[in-house]
Amino acid sequence: MTLTTISVHDLTKRYGSFEAVSHLTLDVEPGSICGLLGPNGAGKTTAFKCILGLARPTAGSIAIEGAPVTPKTFETTAYVPERNVLHEWMTVGEHVELNRRSNPKHDPKRADELLATFKLDRRKKVKRLSKGQKTALMLILALSIRPRILVLDEPSSGLDPIFQRVVLDLMIDAAAGGATILFSSHQIGQVERAADRVAILKQGRLVLDGTVDELKGSQKIVEAIFEDSVPSLNGLAADARILRVERVGRVYRAYVREGGDEIARRLDALGPKSVSVLDLNLEDIFLNAVADAKSPEDTI
């Protein structure tokens, strides 16, 4: 039996009366890339901090490679936080040296390669680096220990598109080498490209979880274009299979969990110019997952 690399069970984290993470259960399998999506304030960073022992869970349990997090965990687990946590007064080289002295798994050759990839000068002080370069340095420090587990909170934050691609490639390369990666990103295209699996958080709760293919296959868009304005839909939007509807001028779109063909037939009966059943991309799935419940005007 393969041991789950990151196992989160019924995790809840409260700050006073505010519940940042609520009953989160998540398993990340060895060698997989799991993307955690969610709007700002959904609880992604708090979940990461709880997983890594940086914040104490209010309830629930967490295991990394089957054991609780201890200092030894960080010999093979690296974390890149969302915000800059580097020491501004230190140089790039001093940070690399600190990494070497504090982690026996630090690989100086790998660090040199990565410094060259991101074109970072060892003598430069962190305060003189751009936001993207600081993110790059945090990534270099994380990757230079050749981690078995990599937790990345918005790893492309502040990077230009060229370096965003480099980060993506480094993640895919690390996973190909056997590393397990848990990351969050607002770049949904990046998540779609890299992740085997996606979990979506909303207000601290896990609202959707599955492989990218499963999620894409689980929903369809039924799109109808009418000659004039969209007619009365006779309560169609109230159908429980419809997750969300959009009306833009003559276009009516229904995001459906199942029964797409039947809903298309019902729309077709209203005499539109065209009706089609379309596949969703990850962005559509994400927006459906985090959108508010169908509003009264949608459910005509």
Binding site: P71, F74, V85, S102
Partner: protein
């Protein structure tokens, strides 16, 4: 992670040493120009330094023949100056555990236990305090050497206990700042200024006559006040003054300062390791 704190302390000590060096060089120039009252050079009689009876002190346009004995001074004076500077250095030094509160995501994800991490910071800082003391001592010698009176320095028995007490006071102040701010996630940079104000008020209150119970309370609180231990040092070299603020012997003061420092550092590390990032 001692390396991180070593870099931070090295930076602080460099600034400290440069400031002291600047002051010392200004004093040297002042002495050489004869602006300082004690005279700007000392020369020996025909017999050289072995002719110890008299020396010639030149100040401005005037040269005086004075008994060499009158120029002798004990090491404890230099220790006192260096100790005062080291205490000042400690007071303005940002508390290191609190300084990491913005970087906990970074330092707490290293394969080192938090207790060991905190202890390594404290040990490096204590070594830094000792270094600050020695830097002060070495730099204090420069102006004296420039006017040739360093040879009148003699090592007295009070120097060592005074050195240990002053270093203990610096360590105690350091520990108290760490304990007050280590658990706290906001900026603790103002702790130095606040501690100077609080300790000065506490010392001043000891002189206010507001009844025996108030006085006893203030004296008790002053045992936690590093500045209160300064009052106990006399110009005769570290013996307990009869008008001392703290009614305990110098040996007890040494024990108290170091013990309070150790306890405060332990509290600081215990609080810091529980801080959430």
């Amino acid at each position: 992670m001692w390396y991180l704190e070593f870099l931070r302390m090295r930076r602080a000590l460099t600034v400290y040493a440069l400031i002291l060096l600047g002051i010392a060089l200004a004093l040297v120039v002042g002495l050489q120009l004869g602006h300082v009252a004690v005279g700007n050079s000392v020369s020996f009689g025909p017999g050289g330094p072995s002719d110890v009876g008299f020396v010639y002190v030149t100040g401005g346009h005037e040269t005086k023949r004075v008994a060499a004995k009158s120029l002798e001074f004990p090491l404890v004076w230099l220790v006192g100056v260096a100790g005062f500077l080291a205490i000042f250095f400690t007071a303005i030094l940002g508390p290191s555990l609190n300084a990491e509160s913005e970087h906990l995501d970074y330092v707490f994800t290293k394969p080192i236990s938090r207790a060991r991490l905190g202890a390594s910071y404290v040990l490096v800082d204590v070594a830094g305090l000792l270094a600050a003391f020695l830097v002060g001592l070495v730099i204090a010698v420069i102006p004296l050497a420039s006017i040739g009176i360093l040879r009148f320095l003699f090592v007295d028995s009070a120097a060592l206990p005074t050195f240990v007490l002053l270093l203990g006071m610096a360590f105690m102040w350091y520990g108290e700042k760490q304990a007050a701010t280590g658990w706290y996630q906001g900026s603790g940079g103002k702790a130095g200024v606040v501690s100077i104000v609080v300790f000065s008020i506490l010392s001043a209150l000891a002189a206010v006559d507001l009844g025996p119970s108030f006085h006893a309370t203030i004296i008790a609180l002053n045992f936690l006040n590093p500045l209160a231990y300064l009052h106990s040092l006399t110009s005769q070299g570290g013996t307990v003054n009869e008008h001392t603020l703290l009614p305990v012997s110098m040996a007890w003061q040494i024990v108290l300062t170091w013990s309070i420092g150790v306890v405060c550092c332990a509290i600081a590390v215990a609080g810091w390791r529980r801080v959430e990032a």
